[in-house]
Point group: C2
Chain length 212, copies 2
DNA sequence: ACAATAAAAGTAATCAATTACTTTCTTTAA
DNA sequence: TTAAAGAAAGTAATTGATTACTTTTATTGT
């Protein structure tokens, strides 16, 4: 007893733990396959549960995706946005955040698929709203940093701030797409510094660091 | 008579015409909904055919996607890559190609969804191979142009060419994602020149045009 | 008339969700 | 302290809807 048809011992977890387990399994699976082809059966197989058990913890598949989107948003906050605060100089903060984001993606290759996949869906599903909100925050964070950099005179005052924010996110996108084409996730972290160096060349002051 | 259940008159086309009609309908529909959710029923409804009729012209849905990918590749050749040849100076050619690409996307909003969606799928489906090949060609075209620009002394000789090619495609990606977030495709063409100006600032020679 | 083109009706497979029921965990009263 | 009661977490099987694809029947231009 206490076993399933395939002989694997059943493990009991409370709903909170299970939800975390399942959400992280989804993120992991997105690294291996297109999110839109992820079935509830595949997800529960990954965590060692029967297909129906999923609905003990999420009222619907759509609610599961909402939880996944929230998880991604929190992780970006903790692992990417937060590193910017450790730097006084805005250009250094931008670079640190850029590299942290690439590191995060390299460790969780499903993330871009997840976010892009959600953005591609039409309508206003909750999960899409969360992704949109997260990217909006990100954009605002970059704009604020660039403006601070202008004040610190490490970024040229003539910069087109909004364009620079778009290009910042584009630089990350470009790296990701390049990795997708090559099918080589590991190349991400190697190439990232070169991309950021080129990106920052577009707004760097000629003079050296003014402070610190 | 000569009508279908819904009263729409039946129209006869030979297979070649039908294939074109269907492929273009798919591209159009990708502008409105996630490609992975496109059903054969939705596609045929769009062109005014019964669902089963699709398989008179394509042996399988996968073959249809292959044709769609080929169509996109050809359009990129004709409407984007070709404009680069109209400019002697490499930096002007890059700019023209960039803006042509954005114009192409603005006219066919389904294109990024289509290509990204295909890239996100794992494995080596024919359609994915075509998209990958197309993007590889694109990348090589950009690299060649940048190198020519160095020779023409309108691009700084110290440039990291490969990084510049990644950032070029990233700039387009960034614009597209930004438009996806805002849900505003029309903003694309307005913002594009600003993004390219910033992008080109990263490798522009300080001196003015050397020739022409 | 007849071959091409399409509609209509079907099929097997797949999917999210539900059901009826079992096992484990947790709480609490004696 | 502990055993009984109930809540929570699990399974296996099934459902209705949807899907890509097939087969059969009807219509059309030549």
């Amino acid at each position: 007893m206490a076993t399933r048809a395939n002989g694997i011992k059943r493990t009991y977890q409370n709903t909170e733990q299970r939800q975390s387990t399942i959400v992280e399994a989804v993120v992991h699976l997105c690294g291996e396959q297109d999110p839109s082809t992820l079935t509830t059966a595949r997800i529960t197989e990954e965590v060692g549960l029967s297909q129906g058990a999923l609905f003990k913890h999420f009222p619907s598949k759509s609610c599961l995706w909402e939880s996944v989107a929230r998880w991604v948003s929190e992780q970006l906050d903790q692992r990417v946005f937060s590193v910017a605060d450790e730097h006084e100089r805005a250009d250094k903060a931008l670079e640190a955040m850029f590299l942290a984001h690439i590191r995060f993606i390299a460790r969780n290759p499903g993330i871009p698929r997840l976010m892009l996949g959600e953005l591609q869906k039409p309508g206003n599903r909750p999960a899409k709203r969360i992704v949109r909100q997260t990217l909006s925050n990100y954009r605002q964070k970059v704009i604020t940093l660039i403006n601070r950099g202008v004040g610190q005179q490490c970024i040229t005052a003539t910069i087109d701030t909004e364009a620079a924010a778009v290009l910042y996110l584009g630089a990350i996108q470009g790296l990701v797409v390049q990795a997708m084409i090559g099918g080589d996730i590991q190349s991400l972290e190697q190439t990232a510094p070169r991309i950021f160096r080129l990106y920052s060349a577009s707004f760097q002051e000629v003079s050296d660091a003014p402070q610190a």
